[in-house]
Symmetry: C2
Amino acid sequence: MTEELDITGAVCPMPLPHNEQIVLGHGAGGKMAADLIGKTFLPAFDNPALRAGDDGAVVDLPPGKLALSTDSHVVSPLFFPGGDIGHLAICGTVNDVAMMGAKPLYLTVGFIMEEGLPLETLQRVVASMQAAAQEAGVQIVSGDTKVVQRGKADGLYINTAGVGVVPLGRKLSGAQAKPGDVVLLSGTMGDHGVAVLAARGELGFETDVQSDCAPLNGLIEELLTACPEVRVLRDPTRGGVATTLNEIAKQSGVCITLKEESLPVRPAVASVCEMLGFDPLYIANEGKVLVVLPRESAETALEVMRHSKYGAGTVQIGEVSADPAGRVLMRTALGSTRVVDMLAGEILPRIC
Amino acid sequence: MTEELDITGAVCPMPLPHNEQIVLGHGAGGKMAADLIGKTFLPAFDNPALRAGDDGAVVDLPPGKLALSTDSHVVSPLFFPGGDIGHLAICGTVNDVAMMGAKPLYLTVGFIMEEGLPLETLQRVVASMQAAAQEAGVQIVSGDTKVVQRGKADGLYINTAGVGVVPLGRKLSGAQAKPGDVVLLSGTMGDHGVAVLAARGELGFETDVQSDCAPLNGLIEELLTACPEVRVLRDPTRGGVATTLNEIAKQSGVCITLKEESLPVRPAVASVCEMLGFDPLYIANEGKVLVVLPRESAETALEVMRHSKYGAGTVQIGEVSADPAGRVLMRTALGSTRVVDMLAGEILPRIC
């Protein structure tokens, strides 16, 4: 094998067949599918379970409970500042598994490709997936490819499912927030949503906002080691911080009150939102975590998270109280209080 | 909750909102998504892990190795004689996990829905998924829904990923076929592919062929209990029996020789294939298993399989020898021998 091209930072271990496209035969389970797997997926994702070439993978699992999660990714466009659909597909599932308090270990991946997808696009995405999997310390052990006719998909959709192990004795859930707890957020809101929107060219003006898409399992593990008393971890993706906190408030039967001036938003994101009439509280993030934990642990948690690569911007944004149960409130800079509801409709489709 | 409508045999636990359709807001992660989950997915798939409402599931796992597999399903049309995309999505992954010698336990499911999909269609598919999951004895513990704009999908695509446990000491793989082994097939070839083709109305004539789509984990467990010496299990889906046996021959470095007159094909499937110039050896099956095992175990295996619901038609179709390694051969009724290659291109797109 030759190493000819540098793709998104990773070295592609095969000559890139220019102008080649995905055709229906790549999804038929025969020679072309085997060729695609052998030349595109195996060299990138290489590991013993995948190399075995069976219909599934058999792997070892450390003792503990099993955490399982899945996400399909339909982001448009496929590439955006700070990430791409492949990076997102790995980080999204790694993060969902990590939010359960688990160490993510293995991923499966399912590609739905539109006939005519340039092979070069697929290879860039695959290289990006492997780079993200490597950073997160997970293996892609089983996969599947389907091809649909032109006009029956939008280039490429990717599903990932992930498994991890929750160490014995650890239990995190959205139902465990308690009055007296505080709420931390690991950094600025809305970067991912605004970056994807900008990449679509729909803004009518330039912005240099990058997606925050990142694997958070390292940050989470450091946090849980220092503060095993953490009650809830949740990544505020679709629906944003407002929707995610509403889910936690409902699951736990508590009230969460946010302090408006503590909410972190990049100036560039704030101006895009202001111009378009969006509220950053409802914009998707892909590399942020909401942490609910006892007040007395907050200082330790803040220090640990701020020292971690993806938690440098961690701040306390709110507090948990008993009433009104199931509600999220906002104390504004002017001292008034308003209800922060869940996202009602759709503001930015195909953001992840 | 009222119980108003009988959908594909299952009782739908909610009033069916006629004429309602999936809209982009159902994929936004806000109120509409929560509503769809609460009214459509939760009542059907109900179990403690899913009910917890977190981003992932945490479940117990018996001791053993972990088996993992995934499949995306893009079958067209969504409903066909003998099954539908939901039934297929459950059985496909249950079977892939079972083929590793594992007991399938938990599934994740990812829905990619096209804007405008009738809610009633989704509900029929979901009811069918739950019926299949119940028959297979697996739980759907985590899921995800995405919605793409009209014209960016074809109604509905479904990904499932499954995990199961391989009992300690059990090891099955496509690389374990040995000279002297025999090959069994659990029933007729090509039923699924021909049933889907007929449902598309592309045949130009009528046929009553039904898909063989079925969960095979029960059959597999009975077989492995009686014959723990089984070396390879594989379901001949896309690419058919010919392609699957080629994969096994290559993985194991052996030759597999088929006896033409032993190959089971329904007369109706045979006539469709003859008219269209297809070979049933290359047509997809969704409820069949290929078994490679030592010759001395064949009789026991045949008896056990023939007594099982989905193995009544089991026959011995071939033998394993050393040379030519990596090849599948066919001994014809006339006594000549020809090479049976992998599927080269695509004959029936979107069959699964």
